[in-house]
């Protein structure tokens, strides 16, 4: 599928290659393989070795970024339109014609291992990752994107090549381009390019059923000064009818004008960072509320987050607040539309989800149609006080008195 939108307001073009796949299709023993494959894509093509590829990409002022998510993976790049011809070839060659040199794969493995280790210093992302791990017992959504040191160490070049053959097919690709392009010209170029690449057979997938029973807890102790806490709930999956209503529910809790920010930061002074995140992914949606706070405020933080969530179950959101939240979400959507990259990713994602790319443009209407009672209904259904996960990264006592020392 190729999606092209012309936008000549700036001389910028963004390209996005979006594939179904990602963590959803990994298992414990090869966890991290998608991310690993993605990293080595940039380390040499049939035409250029890693160094030449990096130089040529940056010589036209562009950079290619790969990503791995829970239900998708891919790459994107932005470039000035005067360099589009070169960027187009480099971008697609890396995706469809990588060589996976053994030496480069080994280097990237070491880099990913270092990134995993570095993750210990990022308590917020560590806590959110722990929250997924605690929330899901059976589903691969529990697995970390980068994998674990043991699983990464067991993956070799052949595994990456095999993974590439399994997933990187034109019939699994949504290729979206937004920006200063001539649609017909770039479409022809893309068709010609993809015509030469064979189609593949995509693996079938049956999602394990995940039932949350009871409260699950996960904790890590580190020598840090702050405590991070996250509460996780299952939520509507991405293609569910109630997905946009849940986005509004989440909107009531997220952002600087939201309940969490005003009640827990502004009024109680509990945190600097506080918020809520809804990830509408394919099999299950995930909602996480989180906070960074002082070590002695764990109880107050948890109670505060739960209290705000429960208010959504117990009371209807007032019309005024609903209107404000809807406007906020639609406004954010409009603000995001300024970037070709954001728009290219939105089109590709809605298409991959099976909702169709047009939904990206219908987002304001979907949000505006949400009604008061629907939010409470969803809160009652999903925000169950007896069934959720709680992840905490807490400082060990000694780190509260001791800051980094001079040696």
């Amino acid at each position: 599928m190729i999606l092209i939108q012309e936008n000549h307001s700036t001389p910028i073009v963004s390209m996005c290659a979006y594939f179904k796949g990602g963590i959803r299709h990994e298992n414990q023993s090869q966890n991290g393989i998608t991310n690993f494959t993605q990293k080595v894509l940039l380390k040499g093509t049939e035409q250029f070795n890693a160094e030449e590829f990096a130089f040529r990409t940056e010589a036209i002022g562009s950079s290619m970024v790969t990503f791995t998510d829970k239900d998708a993976f891919g790459a994107h790049t932005s470039v000035l339109s005067k360099h589009l011809e070169q960027a187009f070839e480099l971008f697609l060659d890396a995706i469809f014609h990588p060589t996976f040199p053994t030496e480069e794969a080994e280097k990237e493995r070491q880099m990913i291992l270092a990134e995993i280790e570095e993750g210990r210093d990022e308590i917020y992302s560590l806590c959110l990752e722990l929250c997924d791990k605690t929330l899901f017992k059976d589903h691969p959504y529990r697995l970390p994107i980068k994998g674990e040191p043991e699983t990464l160490s067991a993956l070799g070049r052949d595994d990456l090549v095999g993974w590439h053959q399994k997933w990187y097919h034109p019939n699994n690709l949504i290729f979206s381009i937004v920006g200063d392009v001539q649609a017909e010209r770039i479409a022809e170029k893309a068709f010609n390019y993809f015509e030469k690449i064979p189609k593949g057979k995509l693996p079938k997938f049956v999602a394990p059923t995940e039932n949350i029973h009871g409260k699950r807890e996960g904790a890590i102790e580190l020598e840090k000064r702050q405590l991070a806490i996250a509460l996780g709930f299952l939520a509507p999956p991405a293609a569910d009818d109630s997905r946009f209503t849940f986005e509004v529910l989440n909107g009531v809790l997220s952002g600087m004008g939201s309940r969490l920010f005003i009640e827990l930061r502004d009024k109680k002074g509990l945190a600097y960072s506080v918020g809520s995140r809804y990830e509408p992914v394919l099999d299950y949606g995930i909602m996480k509320t989180f906070m960074g706070t002082a070590a002695n405020q764990e109880k107050a933080a948890k109670e505060g987050l739960i209290e705000e969530l429960m208010k959504l179950r117990d009371f209807d959101v007032q019309e005024e607040e609903l209107l404000r939240t809807k406007r906020f979400l639609v406004g954010l959507y409009e603000i995001g539309r300024q970037k070709n990259y954001t728009q290219a990713m939105r089109y590709a994602r809605y298409e991959m989800l099976g909702l169709g790319w047009r939904v990206a443009n219908l987002y304001p209407k979907k949000i505006e149609s949400v009604e008061v009672g629907q939010i409470r209904e969803l809160a009652v259904r999903y925000l169950d006080p007896e069934n959720f996960s709680c992840a905490v990264v807490r400082p060990v006592k000694s780190s509260l008195e001791v800051s980094p020392s001079k040696t």
Binding site: T10, A54, E118, G257, I262
Partner: protein, 421 residues
């Protein structure tokens, strides 16, 4: 610059001055249905004394924390209700309050900002709560070894100039800060001639300026003799500090003093930073990451503001590679001093700088930030001019800059090592 994209050019900016002296920069950008409105105050961490270190940032937090007619949380709620969001940042030389929202709600943005500037309550109880919030922000940065070691690098490099003092202040100064301190500082620095406004979006400039004039007429004028800042004496010997902590990876940061942002040498230094440490193809990434596998990342950049800044190199690495990485960095520096950069490498760096600048102009927020940052340096159109000058940099300019600034006596180094358990 691409001729076909007038929406990116600063020649489209309409510049005016309010009767009270506030400068206004307005630019109409047609395709966007949103607008970015920013109020820039020429006060930041450099204007503070040691006793009230962090006060500029504290005021930034308090200014949106309630006014006589808007209780706590009301400002953010109103902006949300318009479909936008508001935020602020404090830098060494400025404090900026900005909002991005659908253009049709410009009046709301104006009303909220003028209310915050003239009628914020600085309520005693709210002040204590916000102090806790800032302390959490401080701890958050201290928990990040990259941010912490960079802060320590600045403290090591600047012995007299206030760039050596963290913007956020310290736990001690924050806890001691009183309402009286905040109000005195506010009255001292928040006056018309010390502010300017940026507005980018789907707005008609003449009408918008009229509205701004009307809204901001109440900001008082004031004639102020600015106290000159302490001058940082030339560094005469190599400085190094070693820190250790329970961190996952180790960090090496190096700084070399360079002139202020508007100095001619900055163009060559900017290109040098790109060649050395921006992107996968940069020299430090290729040698220390890709070939020798000594670092997780290698970066270079220039901290360039109104006063003499610094060129920096930053590395994340495994602790046992510290010496090898340091030697490797000096080896790459020496190559730049001894050999001329080849034309294709120079062109790559120039193209990267041009692209980065144009990418940063893609949104109204980005354009607002660029206009404001360059206006802080004295000329809002400086960004475009800089790109032209970047393309005029020659291999000899780069070599000269490397020889002039990358000396051992001009270098400060922070090693932040993972402690042995």
């Amino acid at each position: 610059m691409e001729d076909k994209s007038p929406s990116l050019l600063t020649s489209e900016v309409v510049c005016d001055e309010l009767p009270n002296g506030i400068k206004v920069l307005v630019k109409q950008v047609y395709p966007a249905r949103v607008a970015n409105f920013g109020v820039w105050v020429r006060v930041g961490a450099v204007n503070e004394t040691d006793r009230v270190a962090g006060i500029s940032h504290f005021i930034e937090h308090m200014l949106f924390k309630g006014t006589e007619k808007r209780p706590v949380g009301q400002i953010a709620k109103e902006i949300h209700g318009c479909g936008g969001y508001t935020n602020a940042f404090t830098d060494y030389e400025c404090t900026c309050y900005w909002v991005v929202l659908p253009s049709k709600y410009l009046d709301v943005a104006l009303d909220i900002h003028i209310d915050a500037f003239l009628h914020s309550t600085f309520d005693e109880v709210e002040l204590q709560k916000e102090c806790q919030v800032i302390l959490e922000e401080l701890k958050m940065y201290q928990d990040r070894p990259d941010a912490y070691s960079f802060e320590k690098l600045m403290t090591l490099a600047y012995k007299k100039h206030p760039y050596g003092r963290p913007i956020i202040g310290s736990e001690q100064t924050l806890r001691q800060m009183t309402r009286k301190d905040l109000l005195e500082y506010l009255h001292e620095h928040y006056y018309a001639e010390n502010m300017f406004i940026t507005l980018i979006g789907d707005i008609e400039p003449t009408r918008a300026i009229r509205k701004i004039k009307n809204a901001f007429k109440g900001i008082p004028r004031k004639t102020v003799q600015r106290t000159p800042l302490p001058v940082e004496p030339a560094q005469t010997e190599f400085r190094k500090e070693r820190l250790s902590g329970d961190i996952a990876r180790s960090y090496l940061n190096m700084a070399f003093h360079v002139p202020e942002a508007t100095h001619e040498d900055l163009h060559a230094l900017k290109v040098l930073a790109t060649i050395l440490g921006e992107g996968r193809s940069s020299r430090l990434s290729q040698t220390l990451r890709e070939k020798e596998q000594l670092v997780d990342y290698a970066q270079a950049g220039v901290f360039a503001q109104q006063h003499p800044g610094f060129f920096y190199l930053s590395f994340m690495l495994e602790e046992l590679n510290m010496e090898k990485v340091e030697n490797g960095a000096w080896r790459e520096i020496k190559k730049l001093q001894d050999q001329l950069v080849l034309p294709d490498e120079l062109l790559k760096a120039q193209n990267m700088t041009e692209s980065d600048y144009i990418f940063s102009q893609e949104t109204v927020e980005g354009q607002g930030r660029n206009l404001g940052n360059y206006e802080m340096l004295g000329d809002y159109s400086l960004g475009e001019k800089l790109i032209k000058k970047i393309f005029a940099v020659t291999p000899h300019d780069i070599q000269r800059a490397a020889q002039k600034y990358f000396t051992r006596n001009n270098c400060s180094e922070i090693e932040y090592r993972r402690a042995e358990n």
